[in-house]
């Protein structure tokens, strides 16, 4: 699925900066996401990871810098943000499903109200997307009737339905009970296999090591180190990276062990 010779850049962030109340949240950050790649962003809380995703999705306006989607500058003032967001999926930590709509409604509303698709066509596609994330039986249930893991999978189906160029995941498993994390990661692994371009902020190191093409370690609004998982996990160049990974491993120790076991199967 990935061509080595001619990899296309889907998202390019160039020297992006953002301040909140005089504090630098993002400092001159640059990042490239190639087509079909899974890039995982790791780093301590409050270091601008979420802000970076929100900037890429034009939900937050950066102070300076350029963001390109498919080589088109989306940070220019002429850009229609609504149109850009149709092509960039986003999955949130706290799901943010539309509470008054069924699973089916959540997935199809973008198709009918944003893309102007006919009701029956939209329904058909929405059911297909829900089946893809393993929720074919839950189409008529409301968010209030679903478990956290199911909610997050509906949220993933909601972004998939728009056929996005890239999906941004903002700590998609952080709000889930430990036993529900697996089903969400499984869906994400499936997307990786299908060649979806993904930019994922997560603390799930097992998942990162397993599926990421590149890992970017961000701290204090800047990239500390980036590279393929093996390099970053086993021979980090920067001492701070080693320190952070060690801390995370200690914190989620057993979790990581389980993930590694999973790899072997």
């Amino acid at each position: 699925m990935k061509s080595v010779i001619l990899e296309k850049i889907i998202i390019e962030v160039i020297n992006l900066s953002k301040q909140y109340g005089g504090k630098d949240v993002l400092k001159d950050i640059s990042l490239k996401v190639y087509e079909g790649d899974t890039v995982v962003i790791i780093g301590p809380s409050g270091t601008g990871k979420s802000t970076l995703l929100r900037c890429i999705n034009l939900l937050t306006k950066p102070d300076s810098g350029i963001i390109k989607l498919d080589d088109i500058e989306i940070t220019s003032p002429e850009t229609n943000g609504d149109e850009v967001r149709q092509h960039i999926g986003m999955v949130f930590q706290d799901f943010l499903l539309f509470n008054h709509l069924t699973a089916l409604g959540n997935v199809s509303i973008g198709l009918t109200k944003v893309l102007g698709m006919r009701e029956d066509k939209a329904k058909e596609k929405a059911i297909k997307e829900l089946e893809r994330v393993g929720l074919g039986e839950n189409v008529d249930q409301y968010p209030g009737q679903l478990s956290g893991g199911q909610k997050q999978r509906v949220a993933i189906a909601r972004s998939l339905a728009m056929d996005p160029r890239v999906i941004l995941f903002d700590e998609p498993t952080s709000a889930l009970d430990p036993e529900l994390i697996g089903e969400v990661l499984e869906v994400m692994r499936m997307l990786v296999k299908e060649g979806m371009t993904m930019l994922v902020v997560t603390h799930e190191m097992g998942f990162a090591r397993e599926v990421a093409d590149r890992i970017v370690f961000i701290e204090n609004g800047g990239v500390v180190e980036e590279g393929p998982p093996n390099e970053l996990f086993y021979s980090p160049k920067v001492e701070r990276t080693r320190e952070f990974l060690w801390k995370i491993a200690e914190l989620y120790g057993q979790n990581q062990e389980r993930s590694i076991d999973g790899d072997d199967q």
Binding site: N57, L59, D82, E83, R85, Q86, H87, I88, G89, M90, F92, D94, L96, L97, F98, N99, H100, I109, G110, K113, V114, Q141, Y142, G144, Q145, R158, S159, M162
Partner: protein, 109 residues
Amino acid sequence: MGSGQMVAARSIGMSRIKAIRHIILPQAIRIAIPPWSNEAATVVKDSSLVYALGVAEILRRAQFVSARTYEPFLAFSIAALIYFVLTFVTNRILDKVERRIEIPTTQVA
């Protein structure tokens, strides 16, 4: 309602106006109906205050009738009955609406 609903709506490419129409309003109305229901009853009963402006509303009319017929008890009883029917019917209708558009949930809030 959390601001997240708007963010989520925008994230799938909805304009602000579409988001308000399809996501925010349908939920806001559900939240607003129970207090409305109380408000409606209060408004009906407070209508007697316009008497102060010289408008003859239900209570004032009852007074007119009792002055003419010398049957204050009957006149005011009927006025009371009218108030009751008005508030009861409005509450019942809003209750029905509330139940009809209620969002199913299995969670204990």
